[in-house]
Amino acid sequence: MSKDKTLGETLRERGVSRRSFLKFCATTASMMALPPAMIPVIAATLEKVRRPSVIWLSFQECTGCTESITRSHSATIEDLIFDTISLDYHHTLQAAAGSAAEHAREEAMQENHGNYILVVDGSIPGDNNGYSTIAGISNKDMLMDVAAGAAAIVAVGSCAAFGGIPKADPNPTGAVSVSDLVKDKPIVNVPGCPPIPAVITGVLVQFLTFGLPELDQLGRPAAFYGQSIHDRCYRRPFYDKGLFANSFDDEGAKKGWCLFKLGCKGPTTYNACAVTKWNDGTSFPIEAGHPCLGCSEPDFWDAGSFYKALSVPTEAIGKTAVYAGAAGLIAGAALGASLRARKQSAVKNHERVTIDDLDQES
């Protein structure tokens, strides 16, 4: 697709009918949680969009975010989003490698200076630039260099948005988020571990259609992160009635009652999982019977046990801290060894692992 042609012109040239385009706009509006009345506005705006250059940088990450976007279940979305943008650099997806790949990035930066969209997944090592490099360039240097000419930055995944798992205690690389380093560009955070694929593509479409989206206090687009998992959860009526599962196999769990007491972070987690869902819209963790881990919130990995209810103090952590303070590191190591031994013994004897066991390991 030529960068001079509008999306509408290109689609017509390719034989994509107006009905198909309207369908794309309708499903996109739905995905962006926009009222259906916005469908004609999206159609009118997107049709006139010229193909923007996108440079995608991957730093300290697991490639889960890229896996997520390439598995966007809507064929219309994934086809059209890649028709709509010019993905000029993505070192996992592009065919070119080595100096040819870096040349493509530099060329895109030069040709589209001030206008390209920079997408980042992964956090950036802050302690020692040598922890993560691409083509001999440190992550920090590459980020600052590419960010300088970007129109806007989309930080995809909890690592880019908040530091994520690389930043989890003890944060061995001194990992920081994109917004910790870049202060002079608009940044849209799209957290999640990984983010919902439709949310990633939806943010790009929203940016192309309406410009920078409305953001919450953590820099997340309100259209997708405006409501808590808890508020949109189909199990919410059980919470309101005080009906909870107390273990993963009790009567409450079998009846699909609220998972709050099993540590569900839905009340403090803002994301679109409960509505957009995962795996072709099949379900989301709570529908599969597991509490929400809160992966789209900052420092979710260090926010206490995944299996402790939000209002219950993290007793195990407190006790461990007291023991460690009293008996020093040897006691801590002994506790760890004891837990490992218990786990191995449980595996050997096929013992049932309880929530308390999981708590002590986390």
Binding site: S20, L22, K23, T27
Partner: protein, 142 residues
């Protein structure tokens, strides 16, 4: 069955594993209000079913209640789309699928006919061009 032969739906009933959200009855009232506005003011209304939390099984019960009326159309537009006029004329159910036939969007539309079902001017213009081209070719060969 109800007195008029329509299937009766027990909205209070819930499946053994899914708690009802209580959203079904309000949703049907929203459709009722929208249909009233359509009849009185010709105001169209669209409800995005993905925007409403529904427990597993609740959407099926909603679709069962809406039923199927006189018009059922299948479009082939970047994957299929089904457009059904429900048993309440003027209330349409539009379901969009991707090419793997997974549902990617579902809307209830209260209108004369959903916009996507109508012939589109842009497509008609392109069609006219093709027809003129075909005729020109045919006359050249003749």
């Amino acid at each position: 069955m109800t007195a008029d032969g329509m299937p009766a739906t027990d909205f209070a009933a819930s499946s053994p594993c899914a708690p009802p959200t209580g959203n079904l009855i309000p949703l049907l009232h929203e459709i009722r209000h929208a249909l009233t506005r359509w009849l009185e003011q010709r105001e169209e209304h669209v409800i995005d079913l993905r925007s409403i939390p529904l427990a597993p099984g609740e959407e099926d019960r909603l679709l069962e209640q809406l039923g199927a009326g006189e018009v059922q159309a299948r479009l082939s537009v970047l994957g299929p789309s089904d457009i059904i006029e429900t048993r309440y004329p003027g209330v349409w159910l539009t379901t969009h699928y991707n090419e793997d036939e997974n549902i990617i969007g579902r809307f209830i539309e209260v209108c004369e006919v959903p916009g996507i079902l109508k012939s589109q001017l842009e497509d008609s213009r392109a069609g006219l061009g093709r027809l003129e081209n075909d005729l020109s070719n045919a006359e050249t060969t003749a």
